[in-house]
């Protein structure tokens, strides 16, 4: 699918850095037939026509214009948020407004928002915030009546790595921040914040049964969050980040081990539970979002 770049700009404070590496960018696309996508889904981007880099790069959808009243023949679009970490993202950072690139998507299964949820807890590490803004917007959209409370924990190395703070605030979420060097918010990680929050507030402030945790970030962070969730017997959805080749379930390259059956598949998306009876699931089609109980983190 051809997508036209409408905007590609540095975000956050990291513009102080000398090299492009580790900078964060926001890229906005206009794209035929791209009007329906759900939070947590992703696209696979072909950064140029060369065979080096060779594979497409998976990128979460950061924002989808919420069902704009598309005129007939009108174009959809979406935004991504990315960090320059290697060859592919470096090339992306050089793209300019008006350039065309090849995008495959939306792909995968995103977050699913259970009915009657009173509180959504969002834990994000680093660039893991990318899919969380769309998720928060979606929760606000669908849960307006329920007055669902949204609490967001963002962690990053330094204050330069804390993204989207304002987006969350605008939506009306309560935002807590932690940085490893203490340059913004608490010194520590988003997991630390989350843990404190859960521990402090467990009996008094909220009802665990009607709460849900959504997490995205490094594998180790996801594991820590999932462990706490299990301990507190709370629902938890995690968005995984695996190397991918096809993004369509064809190559079986992106698999994650399914938790052995005795653990059960509590609250899992029922579809997914039936679809793949094997001991590996594809992150690209069965995920990237999984019930934390479903998989081996």
């Amino acid at each position: 699918m051809r997508a036209i770049i409408l905007e590609n700009k540095i975000i956050g404070n990291s513009s102080l850095l000398k090299t492009r590496r580790d900078k964060y960018y926001k890229m906005r696309f206009s794209c035929d037939n791209f009007s329906v996508a759900s939070p947590g889904q992703f696209v696979m981007i072909r950064v140029n026509n060369s065979y080096d880099p060779f594979l497409r790069r998976p990128m979460s959808i950061y924002r989808i214009p919420h069902h704009p009243t598309l005129k007939k023949g009108g174009r959809g679009g979406f935004e991504i948020l990315y960090q320059v970490v290697g060859k592919g993202t470096n090339i992306m950072s050089e793209l300019k407004k008006g350039d065309e690139i090849d995008v495959l998507g939306p792909l995968g299964r995103g977050f699913w928002i259970p009915e009657k949820i009173e509180r959504a807890i969002i834990v994000a590490g680093g660039i893991g915030v990318a899919p969380m803004v769309a998720l928060t917007e979606e929760i606000r959209c669908t849960m307006q009546d329920a007055r669902c409370k949204i609490t967001v924990f963002i962690g990053g190395k330094t204050k330069n790595d804390i993204l989207c703070k304002e987006n969350f605030k605008k939506i009306g979420a309560k935002v807590h921040i932690a940085t490893e060097d203490g340059s913004m918010g608490k010194k520590g990680t988003s997991v630390d914040l989350f843990k404190t929050f859960i521990t402090d507030s467990q009996s008094s402030i909220f009802n665990r049964q009607s709460s849900i945790i959504f997490a995205c970030g490094p594998q180790r962070m996801l594991k820590a969050v999932a462990d706490i969730a299990r301990d507190k017997n709370m629902d938890c959805q995690v968005s995984l980040d695996k190397r991918m080749a096809c993004g369509t379930g064809a190559c079986l390259g992106c698999v994650v081990k399914v938790r052995s059956l005795e653990f059960g598949v509590r609250n899992s998306n029922p579809q997914s539970a039936i679809r793949n009876p094997q001991s590996y699931k594809c992150v690209c089609t069965d995920g990237p979002v999984f019930d934390a109980e479903e998989i081996n983190l």
């Binding site: 060779f54 594979l55 064809a250 190559c251 992106c254 698999v255």
Partner: protein
């Protein structure tokens, strides 16, 4: 390309014969999708009209389901990728029951790629599908180690290759394609063994053995340590092997390895392939195979070729 096509008069293009007959499998064009890169077909049905394909070779199947290797299973390399999927598959029975009905809805040939750990397992799979309607051919992947006889790969030893192909031959009436491993000193010897053993066609190449190391952790980037290299990086190697084998044996040859564009496909046909398989290219562009089919037509039109079969083996040396 769009522009180029227009230069050739449309009605000329429509007269060009693209159909090929590979060992009795009549395909509407010589473009197949390669095993392991197209799932069981449904994964790509949304991105491409399966009716357009010459044939679909499904992910390699074994007698019983296989779990495959632990992840990470893939890693990008320069102009290619390594995979160590480890032949994860749902088993031949699930395929026939759950996946084949979907594929039967399309007007394309379905070829079952399969493998085993022993000659017996190869034969069992072949027997199972011999009379299943909707399966038009078999492709034996002989790059697997023989569990019984000391893990020696079937595809790297001419005697073993002969024995396993010959045994399967006796157990199937379906067209039998044998797919060769490139990790050998002389591929013509293996091709000859397969031919002597009763293969109807040869497809080559499977992936080259390779490895990548993470210099931060000093660990291999694949959990399985070693993986199979595919993509444009290996194209010159595949092309050379197709040419060598085409000179040596009489069977139709199916060229695979790094084909990304119609120009690549034409190279393989000139070297001696009667058909081609599109593998890793599907990951880069799900519409690759369709574009390649259009490109073949374009090439024929521009070069006044009325029948694609004229190209096979037309190398000028």
């Amino acid at each position: 390309m769009g522009k180029d096509i227009k230069r050739v008069v449309r009605k000329d293009i429509s007269k060009i014969n693209l159909s090929v007959n590979i060992a009795g499998i009549l395909m509407k064009n010589p473009v197949m999708v390669a095993s392991g890169t197209f799932g069981y077909g449904e994964e790509y049905a949304k991105y491409i009209d399966l009716n357009k394909l010459g044939a679909i070779v499904v992910k390699g199947l074994s007698l019983t389901p296989r779990e495959g290797n632990p992840p990470p299973r893939i890693v990008e390399t320069s102009a290619g990728m390594l995979n160590s999927i480890g032949l994860q598959n749902i088993g031949i029975d699930s395929f026939v029951n759950d996946k084949l009905p979907f594929l039967e809805k399309f007007d394309t040939k379905v070829i079952v790629n399969f493998f085993g750990d022993s000659i017996d397992e190869y034969c069992e799979v072949a027997k199972k599908v011999d009379s299943v309607s909707g399966i038009h051919g078999l492709e034996m992947n002989i790059s697997c180690p023989n569990k019984k006889e000391g893990w020696l790969e079937f595809g790297t030893n001419p005697d073993l290759a002969f024995r396993v192909v010959n045994a399967v031959r006796k157990n199937t009436r379906l067209p039998l394609i044998v797919k060769l491993s490139p990790n050998v000193t002389d591929i013509t010897v293996i091709a000859k063994a397969a031919s002597d053993a009763g293969a109807d066609a040869i497809s080559l190449i499977n992936t080259l053995s390779g490895m990548v190391i993470d210099i931060k952790t000093r660990k291999p980037k694949l959990a399985n340590i070693i993986g199979g290299l595919s993509g444009p990086a290996i194209k010159p190697v595949a092309l050379k092997m197709v040419w060598q084998v085409a000179k040596t044996i009489k069977l139709p040859i199916i060229g695979v390895g790094g084909i990304m564009t119609y120009e690549d496909a034409i190279e393989f046909m000139i070297a001696g392939a009667s058909a081609v398989q599109i593998g890793t290219a599907n990951f880069i562009d799900p519409a690759s195979s369709e574009k390649i089919i259009d490109g073949l037509k374009l090439y024929c039109g521009q070069n006044s070729i009325k029948d694609i079969n004229e190209i096979a083996g037309s190398i000028a040396i």
